[in-house]
């Protein structure tokens, strides 16, 4: 082929369009920039955009379409876990390559996927540490949408908190359906739970759209961040842009990236983004950085391998280093997850986050959580001799491979 093809598999319609459209634009911007630099291996990069329309089986179908019909060399895509799980068998069957840019529950490592978002140990655990150590929080509300990511994260956190001596009655767990919009009772429960004398915080894994009504209700019921801070793992700059943030000032989020971090790389990135979208008000967020890092690493890996052949690129990827937008260097580990710094930010009234805490160095993403009984013995290592995504260190076996 005379071009290198990059598939973009992000929903442009349906419920997930809100989040995913931005990532499509990010990939297109990266492709643009790379082409301005002369492309890759002397060829132009061509982006192929399809719309899986927030319909999970459609992700598999569109993934197959990209790989067999359009013959793309790499795919950037997916947001929800289920969409990733849906394309995964297709990727493995057709030996495609995908970069997945969103924080997720972990417990997965595929040869054909690189996970550039945060694993639970890169978001949840540092955040809880911060709450306990810096804010003196003793009671926790784990509020989430009822799906795998919150379930897993909360399981991990529960185990972690109990390990730290938090009593079971000081942990309240609550699940709500997708798109839940009537938060009155839950917020009032949280308020009650938080007014029993001990410093309380909410750890929120509430997904997507449900956040706006949740925060509005928090504001209206007068729960300020000083009384009961909320630390969220799915609320970033973009989610806040749909919200009047004045009542939310002081609530927290844990990410690997904030737009407000001042580094030259970030400044350049934001500038490029504003130029690309022709909108000086567009915000940037963590999954965009993950996409950015993923794309850079892929480009480097292709250059290093001298080909776009998936197996070669996959091996070349491991050990790739790219500067983070927030400073420091991101490294692709053997388990296809990144090492990244973890930042905790407070919401400001301009919809940005103010970093209030960060890890000293980078944290390596953990494919398999150490806090879950099923997976504490599992590791992932895609280099010889193990070459396996779920290797049991006890039984020294590897299971669940499709090839």
């Amino acid at each position: 082929a005379d071009t290198i093809k990059v598939g973009v598999l992000h929903s442009l319609s349906g419920t997930m369009a809100i989040s995913e459209t931005t990532l499509k634009d990010t990939v297109l911007m990266m492709v643009d920039e790379q082409n301005k630099k002369g492309g890759l291996l002397g060829k132009k990069i061509e982006a192929v955009v399809v719309d899986p329309a927030s319909n999970w089986p459609l992700f598999a179908e569109k993934g197959r379409e990209l790989l067999t019909k359009d013959k793309v060399d790499v795919i950037f895509g997916s947001w929800t876990s289920v969409s990733r799980k849906s394309v995964l068998p297709v990727l493995e069957e057709l030996n495609g390559l995908m970069f997945y840019p969103v924080q997720y529950e972990g417990e997965e490592s595929s040869k054909n996927v690189f996970y550039t978002g945060a694993a639970p140990n890169q978001q949840a655990i540092p955040a809880v540490d911060y709450l306990m150590n810096d804010l003196g929080v003793e009671r926790f509300v784990l509020a989430g949408t009822d799906y795998v990511y919150p379930r897993t994260t909360n399981k991990i956190l529960e185990a972690y908190l109990k390990g730290k001596g938090v009593a079971a009655k000081d942990i309240m767990i609550n699940y709500t359906p997708f798109g839940h919009s009537d938060w009155q009772s839950i917020v009032s429960d949280i308020k009650k739970f938080g007014s029993e004398g001990k410093k309380t915080a909410v750890v929120s894994t509430i997904n997507g759209d449900a956040n706006v009504p949740f925060y509005k209700e928090l504001g209206n019921q007068g729960i300020s961040s000083e009384d009961i801070p909320v630390v969220a793992f799915s609320v970033g700059e973009e989610e806040l842009s749909g919200l009047d943030t004045k009542p939310l000032v002081g609530h927290l989020a844990a990410w690997n990236y904030f737009q407000s971090v001042e580094t030259p790389e970030n400044e350049a990135f934001i500038k490029a983004w504003h130029a690309y979208t022709k909108n000086p008000d567009r915000v940037t967020n963590d999954p965009m950085e993950a996409t950015y890092i993923g794309f850079k690493m892929w480009a480097n890996a292709v250059t290093k391998a001298g080909t776009t052949d998936v197996d070669a690129v996959e091996q070349a990827m491991i050990g790739q280093e790219t500067p983070n937008l927030t400073g420091g260097i991101a490294v692709m580990n053997k388990n296809h997850h990144l090492s990244k710094p973890v930042l905790i930010g407070e919401i400001q009234d301009d919809g940005q986050f103010e970093v209030v805490w960060e890890t000293d160095g980078v944290v390596a993403g953990d494919a398999w959580s150490d806090f879950l009984p099923g997976s504490k013995d599992l590791i992932s290592d895609w280099t010889a001799p193990i070459k396996c995504g779920n290797y049991n260190t006890q039984t020294k076996t590897c299971s669940g491979q499709n090839y």
Partner: protein, 504 residues
């Protein structure tokens, strides 16, 4: 000292603030408030702190003490003095401590209540000093409460004193009181423990009553949202018989209209709602008329086809909004008079936005009923929906009636959008999330019966909210659905069925 504040790191700020508090009186309040709001800036060059203010969309800087405008300064000259949660907590308490001597009794009372959970020795000493001289009854009560709390918690005091204090506490609903009593139930002194238990019991009884009111309010409020969302559909679907899948998008248009109105008048957010309501009615209503004239009017006598066409229209409208406004959610601000809550007592507070929306929903309902009952439109539209040809033969301008009715239903959906924009996302999927509930409400109430829609909305709202605490949100939703399915078996035509020979 102030300059230090400007240069200090967040970690080092607390001691500075303590010093500031120690030397000052009410005159520093503006400084602390500005800092609390995050509007305090530091001018490096002049080594001065100044406040940032905004009006008419322009930012300017003022001296926080003198209110003198520093004209020459712009954004680049100043750095924000950042605060974090811990500091905000400290600031709030500091303000309260300073305000204990404020002239306004209500300010004093709030200050006391603010400090209930932070009763340290020095505060108590200050309170004791103020208590005797306090003239205002309410403030005095609050201070008495604080002092009683202090007394009750002092283990070295005589049990009888403490018990008396506990009895005094049992009439309060304050959280801090309850927390204190709960700790006292673990006291060494058994008499104190039993007194605390009795007091807690008493408080719990009162609190439960209020909790019920609270839940009822949640239910009514959810009901009002359902009512608003479905009332337009009760017209287009219930009365006209159009299976209007684009109803949700009409709501969405209303919400986006609110957004645009706020965009146009950014400095009058508080009044924007009053513009947004008629604007949304017009936008959605006109869109409704357009849809009716272009599509629905050609589908007379084919009600099921309206499902197909309006579904297509809903897809188009969604994508239209996505193209124009981007797929991201838009930010709609809440006017200040609608934010916050109406605190009736420490355990019962009703959020203002929901209160207004409840009232608004009822108002819209009543106006609509009057329009349909008192104007010929109501009669004509029913006649047209029952027998179009005969209505024509009786001189009813069926085209006009159809367009007006559909416009009315859509317009009301638009108004609902204004209200919903205050509660939830304003995004392209807004409509989708309400369409199913809306149909459910209309059908549950009985198609073609506005009163049924009202009752159904509130029934479902209240049922959901009373189930939720025991079952969780997901199960509550499922149970309500199952309940509706079973209920319809008993009453196959909804709560208020159409009766009579012709209804079969």
């Amino acid at each position: 000292m102030l300059a230090e504040l400007g240069e200090a790191k967040i970690k080092d700020m607390e001691p500075i603030l303590v010093r500031i508090e120690a030397v000052s009186d009410e005159s520093v309040l503006p400084l602390l408030r500005t800092l609390l709001n995050g509007n305090l800036y530091y001018n490096e060059a002049e080594k001065k702190v100044i406040g940032q203010f905004e009006s008419n969309g322009e930012t300017y800087y003022k001296d926080v003490f003198t209110d003198e405008i520093n004209a020459g300064i712009d954004k680049r000259d100043v750095d924000k003095i950042r605060v974090n949660n811990k500091l905000r907590g400290y600031l709030r308490n500091a303000i309260a401590r300073i305000q204990l001597t404020s002239k306004s009794p209500s300010v004093r009372e709030n200050a006391v209540r603010e400090l209930l959970s932070k009763l340290d020795g020095s505060t108590v000493a200050v309170l004791e000093g103020l208590y005797t001289n306090e003239t205002n009854k309410k403030v005095k009560d609050a201070m008495g409460l604080a002092l009683a709390m202090n007394t009750a918690s002092q283990t070295e005091l005589a049990a009888s004193n403490r018990i008396a204090a506990i009895e005094k506490l049992s009439s309060s609903l304050e959280n801090d009181v309850r927390n204190l009593l709960t700790t006292l139930t673990r006291d060494d002194n058994t008499a104190v423990v039993s007194a605390a238990n009795i007091a807690l019991e008493k408080i719990a009884q009162r609190a439960n009553r209020f909790a019920f009111v609270d839940q009822l309010f949640f239910g009514l409020s959810l009901g009002s949202v359902l009512l608003l969302a479905s009332i337009g559909l009760a017209i287009t679907f219930g009365v006209m018989g159009v299976i209007n899948m684009a109803h949700g998008e009409m709501i969405m248009l209303g919400a986006y209209t609110t957004y645009v109105v706020q965009l146009i008048m950014p400095n009058y957010i508080d009044y924007s709602i009053w513009v947004a309501i008629p604007a949304a009615f017009l936008v959605s209503g006109l869109m409704g008329v357009l849809i009716e004239r272009l599509v629905i009017c050609r589908l007379h006598g084919r009600p099921l086809e309206t499902l197909l066409a309006t579904f297509g229209i809903s897809l188009i409208l969604q994508q239209l909004v996505r193209t124009i406004f981007s797929p991201l959610n838009r930010q709609v601000s809440t006017p200040s008079w609608m934010s916050g809550s109406w605190e009736i007592n420490p355990v019962l507070s009703l959020t203002l936005n929901r209160l207004y929306i409840l009232a608004f929903a009822l108002l819209v309902f009543i106006v609509l009923v009057i329009v349909l009952k008192k104007t010929s439109l109501g009669l004509n539209v029913r006649a047209v929906s029952q027998n179009r040809n005969m209505a024509k033969a009786m001189g009813v301008k069926t085209n006009w009636v159809d367009a007006m009715t559909f416009g009315l239903g859509s317009g009301i959906a638009g108004i609902a959008g204004v209200a919903l924009s205050q509660l939830t996302n304003v995004g392209p999927n807004l409509g989708q999330s309400y369409i199913i509930d809306s149909f459910m409400v209309v059908v549950f109430g009985g198609v073609g019966n506005l009163l049924g829609t009202l009752v159904a909305a509130f029934t479902l709202g209240i049922a959901t909210k009373f189930l939720e605490p025991t079952t969780g949100a997901v199960l509550a939703a499922i149970l309500v659905l199952v309940f509706i399915i079973l209920f319809i078996q008993k009453r196959p035509k909804g709560l208020f069925p159409q009766k009579g020979r012709a209804a079969e």
